[in-house]
């Protein structure tokens, strides 16, 4: 809705567009609390926002300038109604969202700001949620967003999809969608660790990108593939009680076979281009996971080599962390721990609970429950939501060291401690 309104008001009036949407939501709450929720709440909101937009234009048309693309059609009652209607039509909203995605990726903005803006304007994320996805502070993100909006405001025009710098912006758009998906998948700051609807949102916007021919490149296919292959595992990742299950203990029969198939098809299609991008490699890693019937039968040497490749394309501490876990699977716990310790830029993971948790897993596996317990406890202190907290509490209990610790539930015993007992 903000995208549609920005089309009418112009990017420089982004704040006004946001106010109108907020207003529509407030009005909805007022009316719905008295009269009950209407049959089609989305349409109701749309109509309310549209009427509110008309009010604003009529009130402000002499004082403000709106979108230059609208010409003078908003100045007169002859055309104002139809123009606003048009902007709110389903196909127009789809186009506006695309255009808005590209507008947010303004070259004068650093990449992090572009991504933050998309997450904020198109997906309605708050600064705290975006901060969680970036492993950054909320205040910093807030500043990033407001600065970004100022740059957009000066741009005046929404990005024209036929513009020359399209290709450059396309990669920024893809990156934003990737982060959006991750936010849903790892759910740093929300109540639930897996917010399937955010993943669905990222997949929807990616599908939108694939529907637009100039944006439907092999790399976009790779990104879509990656999302499908991860999303396929969602049903097994979070159980009915809202508990998190890591890859190792997931019931693989619950993976979504349709999404696996779609992901593999997309991965094949993504090989059409000459470039091997980070998305290609990540999709290949995900494909290696979903192709294995069990953890033991997973091709860990392949996965480690894919992570090595990824480190040359897009190095990051989180990639290195995942690589270290794969090394632990391939070469044993000692090597895994060494790889974890060797992570370059490790301080960027200081607030990331899965760094100590991964270390704890490996300590447990090599028969150091006391060390593991301390590490899981440290991870627990960093947990960002109840789901992560419950999961890490279970891991602490699995170390079974402290007399006061409650009984370890059978179903929570993972493969790692079982191995320790075999030794």
């Amino acid at each position: 809705m903000v995208a549609a309104l920005t089309r009418i008001f112009g990017v420089h009036n982004l704040a006004l567009a946001e106010d109108v949407v907020q207003d529509a939501f407030c009005r909805a709450l007022d009316v719905w609390s008295v009269r009950g929720i209407p049959d089609n709440p989305a349409a109701w909101l749309m109509t309310t926002a549209k009427n509110r937009a008309l009010d604003v234009i009529r009130r402000d048309r002499t004082a403000r300038t709106f979108a230059p693309e609208m010409g003078r059609l908003l100045e007169t009652e002859w055309t104002i109604g139809s123009v606003v209607d048009e902007a709110f039509a389903a196909h127009a909203i789809r186009d506006e969202q695309l255009r808005m995605m590209f507008s947010c990726c303004h070259p004068r903005l650093p990449e992090e700001s572009q991504v933050a803006l998309i997450l904020n304007i198109l997906c309605g994320f708050g600064a705290a949620e975006i901060a969680g996805a970036f492993l950054a502070g909320g205040a910093a993100i807030e500043k990033r967003i407001s600065r970004g909006k100022k740059v957009l405001a000066r741009a005046r025009r929404l990005f024209d999809l036929s513009d020359a710098e399209f290709t450059q912006r396309l990669s920024a758009v893809r990156r934003a969608l990737y982060l959006l998906f991750n936010e849903g998948y790892h759910g740093a700051s929300a109540e639930s660790a897996v917010r399937a609807e955010l993943c669905a949102e990222a997949m929807r916007l990616t599908a939108l990108l694939r529907e637009y021919p100039p944006a439907a490149t092999p790399e976009t296919d790779a990104l879509a593939s990656l999302m499908c292959l991860h999303a396929a595992r969602l049903p097994a990742r979070l159980d009915a009680a809202g508990d998190l299950h890591p890859l190792f203990e997931q019931d693989r029969s619950r993976w979504d076979a349709g999404l696996v198939a779609e992901g593999l098809t997309l991965l094949e299609r993504s090989a059409a281009g000459p470039a091997v991008t980070a998305s290609h490699v990540e999709a290949a890693i995900a494909a290696a996971h979903v192709s294995a019937p069990t953890t033991d039968e997973t091709d860990w040497p392949l996965i480690v080599s894919l992570y090595d490749r990824l480190m040359t394309i897009a190095p990051s501490p989180v990639v290195e962390l995942n690589r270290a876990i794969a090394v632990g699977e391939r070469d044993g716990a000692d090597r895994g721990i060494a790889a974890l310790r060797a992570i370059h830029d490790r301080e960027r993971l200081d607030r990331y609970p899965f760094y100590p948790a991964a270390m704890g897993e490996l300590e447990l596996r090599r028969g150091n429950p006391a060390a593991a317990r301390a590490l899981f406890t440290a991870a627990l202190a960093l947990a960002r939501n109840p789901t992560e907290r419950r999961f890490l509490e279970k891991r602490v209990r699995a170390c079974g060291d402290e007399p006061s610790a409650p009984q370890v539930e059978k179903k929570s015993v993972r493969r790692a401690p079982a191995r320790t007992s075999k030794r």
Binding site: G71, R72, L73, E75, T76, E77, W78, T79, G81, S82, V83, D85, E86
Partner: protein, 118 residues
């Protein structure tokens, strides 16, 4: 280039025909939008103008008598105006041809903007 005012006229029946139901109103407004957009794109739209409600009040005579009017029964009601720019009267006439009100049985009166010679 000279300025011309387009005065749009129609009967009340014609107006009801065009705007009577939401669907018809939508279609009519779309047609207006297309036409005005086209005028603007070709650089002919000089002033946006406004549509007018069909009736209001009329003040008349030295005594400034106020009456209702014009009446809805009137043969044609002035329903709005825009100002366009055209090379000459002939081109202005040409531009008016696509106006939806004509399609709907109404009329466009094309009047060059005059000068008041002192």
């Amino acid at each position: 280039m000279s300025e011309f005012v387009f005065l749009f006229r129609a009967t009340e029946a014609g107006r009801r025909e065009a705007l009577g139901t939401p669907e018809r109103a939508q279609r009519s407004l779309q047609a207006w939008l297309a036409w005005i957009r086209d005028l603007e794109a070709r650089g002919h739209l000089r002033h946006r103008g406004q549509p007018l409600e069909p009736t209001g009040k009329v003040v008349r005579g030295k005594n400034k008598v106020v009456t209702d009017g014009p009446y809805l029964e009137a043969k044609d009601l002035l329903l709005g105006f825009i100002v366009i720019e055209a090379r000459d009267l002939a081109q202005a006439v040409e531009l008016s041809a696509g106006c939806p009100i004509v399609e709907g049985g109404g009329s466009v009166e094309i009047r060059p903007v005059g000068t008041l010679a002192v």
